[in-house]
């Protein structure tokens, strides 16, 4: 027969100071873990939202990042004539040659400067991404020294807001608009016109990469294979989606760090939980004896104290999730070595991260409760009743 859970709940309530303190300790541990998971989740979301399922990013053979790739204009012509390419309204093959550069500007988090990607592309390239310009701004015009910035850039870089002039390449560039690409990572980029920016980056003969779109899913695979098999062309074709998803690894150092801290804190708080539960067991020695006299088995005593510890940890877990909740949606930035520049993203406290946090709390509670509970179960009836 099991001891009702209400008994444990009442015990927790009676000793409310101890309960709250222990639960808070576990809660803070859980909060650190949830925040860490929310960071990784947010980063993953940003990269997952980037890229079109039918698009292929073409880089130079041997290169795995746009920044250090170069594709010749001849290769670009061959690419455009490949069968299976999608065609836009104007009847042109959907292929966007692009040039990448990195510039350094002070951001709100790093006043000493943080790296930003500058992407030079044509209107055709803009059309291949799901972006719109925010009201009050406009796209860059060809022949003008104008750029547009992603919404994260506008938010985080005081020197790159609409109307500002950014100095890179051979002179100044005016920011004429802010674009919104949903949750995509390109929100952290600055875009300018292909030829204009390209000549400033000294790249008239080659481009960094070419983005192409296949007509349909069937053509996609054939196109993808034909590009990678074409030895003469010498390119490395990557699925755009995968290319961005891989960059989630930029968060690896912080993830490692957060997990390390959470685990160390968990050891500390499981000790604390153990202390609290031992105290509960010794305070209730008589009660335990009474329960045994009433016919509750050792097993149900063990189970009961374990449940109490889990309940305590659960309260802590919920507490931790609540503590971590306010960081949901907070924007932060992280450097990606693939682009050598910053990706801004929002923390995401999702249901799954919260469940992970609560499970973590329960593990702490189980570890903390196991020994005290078995200690309680082992008590001899007579000695227990005699204790004061």
């Amino acid at each position: 027969m099991a001891i009702p859970i209400a008994y444990n709940l009442r015990n927790l309530i009676v000793r409310k100071t101890t309960t709250v303190m222990t639960a808070l300790g576990i809660g803070l541990t859980v909060a650190v873990l949830v925040a860490d998971l929310a960071l990784v989740e947010g980063l993953r979301t940003a990269f997952k939202a980037t890229g079109h399922p039918l698009q292929i990013l073409v880089l130079r053979k041997g290169s795995n990042a746009e920044l250090n790739s170069s594709v010749t204009r001849e290769a670009l012509q061959i690419l455009k004539s490949k069968p299976g390419l999608a065609v836009n309204e104007a009847g042109e093959a959907m292929a966007s040659p692009e040039i990448l550069g990195v510039i350094n500007l002070p951001s709100v988090d790093s006043p000493n400067g943080m790296n930003l990607t500058v992407r030079a592309l044509s209107q055709a390239g803009v059309a291949m991404r799901n972006v719109k310009i925010q009201s009050g701004g406009r796209w860059f015009q060809s022949g003008q020294r104008e750029v547009v910035v992603g919404k994260s850039v506008a938010k985080r870089y005081p020197n790159a807001r609409p109307g500002a002039r950014i100095r890179f390449g051979r002179g100044e560039w005016e920011v004429v608009g802010v674009f919104d690409a949903g949750e995509s990572a390109v929100n952290s980029e600055i875009w300018g016109e292909l030829n204009q920016v390209g000549s400033d980056f000294n790249r008239q003969d080659t481009v960094s990469s070419v983005l192409i779109r296949a007509a349909d899913a069937g053509a996609f695979q054939a196109l993808f294979n034909s590009l990678n098999d074409d030895r003469q062309l010498g390119v490395n074709a990557l699925r755009e989606r995968e290319y961005y998803e891989q960059q989630t690894s930029a968060g690896a150092p912080l993830q490692f760090f957060g997990l390390l801290v959470a685990v160390i804190m968990a050891i500390g708080s499981s000790f604390a939980a153990m202390n609290t539960m031992y105290a509960a067991v010794s305070r209730r020695a008589k009660e335990i004896g009474t329960l045994r006299v009433l016919g509750f088995s050792r097993g149900s005593i063990l189970f009961s104290f374990l449940i109490e510890s889990l309940l305590l940890a659960f309260i802590g877990g919920v507490f931790g999730c609540l503590l971590a909740l306010p960081i949901n949606g907070v924007t932060t930035g992280i450097g990606s070595f693939a682009t050598f520049s910053e990706i801004a993203f929002d923390f995401r406290v999702s249901p799954s991260t919260m469940i992970a946090g609560i499970v973590f709390a329960l593990v702490v509670g189980a570890i903390g409760g196991l020994f005290p509970a078995s200690n309680a179960a082992r008590k001899e009836i007579l000695t227990a009743l005699r204790e004061i």
Binding site: T17, T18, M21, T22, L24, G25, L28, T29, A31, V32, G62, S63, N64, L67, N68, S69, S70, G101, V102, I103, N104, L105, D109, N112, G113, M114, N115, R167, F168, G169, F201, D205, S249, G251, A252, P253, L254, F256, F257, V261, I264, M265, I267, G268, S269, F271, A272, M274, N275, T276, Y278, A279, T332, G333, I334, G335, F337, F340, E342, I388
Partner: protein
């Protein structure tokens, strides 16, 4: 002070419930160890490791805005003219791929340098004379830092092939030497001239003709450093290639922002940890005082004043906290040693250590936590009337 004479009593009391004391100390130990680690990390990431004298006078000059955008070689002569400059050399970043770029382990810094200059600008590099001579004379030779050589198990004679990415060449290098360097950075140096010749031979348009990605500048003395860096940057401020010249340490630390807003994370987590320890120790101490209410009553009937009882209980809190703190510092010291030798995604942490100041601060924090958390139960126990205490059961 009088309380000192009660030390045996305090010690005895601290360990009357051994299991609880052990758990409390254990809990404080891990938390304080974490706090020490956080502070050590903060120091390494934002203040860097101890600078060697050679490091303190070394400046890195790069393009002000565009990372990796090369600067004209003609800058070199102009830098030499700046007073306070002792030596100038070039350093060319070579991205490229070693083995498989998908494995981040294969990512390390590779620079083209003038072999003769490298040992002038980096006098702290220790390398056997024979290996140094080999690097000076073998055009396809390269040298690696010990950290890098150890990572891949390289020995002199190892073939290192770097496939270029933004540069359309492949460098076939032979490791001719391994140098010791205090910061445990992973770096490979090869002959800049060999790279330039390969570029010419490749026949493609050379994006690096007459230009280089970074200049290394050595100042006469540390006093000259701020002036030299400003003088150089002013010199090129209005040229098409504005520059940013900073100490090597500042340059390296600027990459910390790449890890995200760590400063805030470290502070937030440090705060959470400190608060957690406070909760844990306050909780245990009040538990142990609560158990002893009757005993305190007995002590009072024996003539102990409320002040003495207050002092004894505070002493108990501080003793437990101090033991936990000291053990935590010891554990942190061990963990730091482990981190220094581990392969972890944060290269900066390879020089992490626990300086005395951080240990001292942590012990003070521990003491303070012991004091604060013992305060409330101690006041309560000291104030409780004797009869009330003696009547207490529980």
């Amino acid at each position: 002070m009088k309380v000192i004479s009660y030390l045996p009593l305090i010690t005895k009391n601290s360990f009357r419930n051994r299991r609880r004391s052990a758990l409390t100390i254990g809990s404080m130990m891990v938390s304080l160890c974490l706090l020490v680690l956080l502070m050590a990390m903060y120091k390494v990431l934002f203040y860097g490791a101890e600078q060697t004298p050679a490091q303190a006078v070394r400046l890195v000059m790069r393009h002000k805005v565009a990372l990796g955008q090369p600067m004209p070689l003609s800058h070199e002569g102009k830098i030499r003219q700046v007073s306070g400059v002792k030596a100038v050399s070039v350093q060319q970043w070579f991205g490229g791929t070693y083995r498989d770029a998908r494995d981040t382990r294969n990512f390390f810094a590779r620079f083209g340098v003038r072999p003769a200059d490298i040992f002038i600008i980096f006098p702290e590099y220790e390398i056997p004379e024979q290996q140094k001579q080999a690097f000076l004379h073998e055009r396809t030779g390269c040298i690696a830092s010990k950290a890098l050589a150890d990572k891949f198990g390289w020995r002199p004679g190892e073939r290192v092939t770097l496939v270029g990415d933004f540069l359309p060449i492949t460098l076939e290098l032979t490791l001719v030497g391994i140098f010791n360097e205090p910061n445990k950075f992973e770096a490979l140096y090869f002959n800049w001239d060999y790279m330039r010749e390969s570029l010419v031979a490749s026949g493609s348009r050379n994006p690096l003709q007459d230009s280089v990605s970074q200049f290394l500048v050595q100042a006469e003395s540390t006093d000259d450093v701020p002036r030299v860096s400003k003088a150089i940057d002013d010199l090129f401020a209005n040229s098409p290639y504005p520059t940013k010249t900073e100490t090597e340490q500042a340059f390296v630390l600027s990459f910390v922002s790449f890890l995200g807003n760590l400063k805030l994370f470290l502070l937030a987590i440090g705060g959470a940890v400190t608060f957690t320890i406070l909760l844990v120790s306050a909780n245990t101490l009040s538990m142990s005082v609560r158990e002893r209410i009757r005993e305190v009553g007995v002590l009072k009937t024996l003539g102990f004043t409320p002040g003495t009882i207050f002092g004894i209980l505070l002493g108990e809190g501080m003793m437990i906290a101090l033991i936990g703190g000291a053990l935590g510092c010891a554990l942190a010291w061990v963990l730091c040693a482990a981190l220094r030798n581990a392969t972890i995604p944060m290269q900066q942490l390879r020089v992490i250590n626990t300086p005395p100041l951080i240990v001292l601060i942590s012990l003070l924090i521990a003491l303070l936590i012991g004091l604060i958390s013992a305060m409330v139960p101690a006041i309560g126990a000291a104030r409780r009337p004797i009869l009330d205490s003696l009547r207490h059961t529980g």
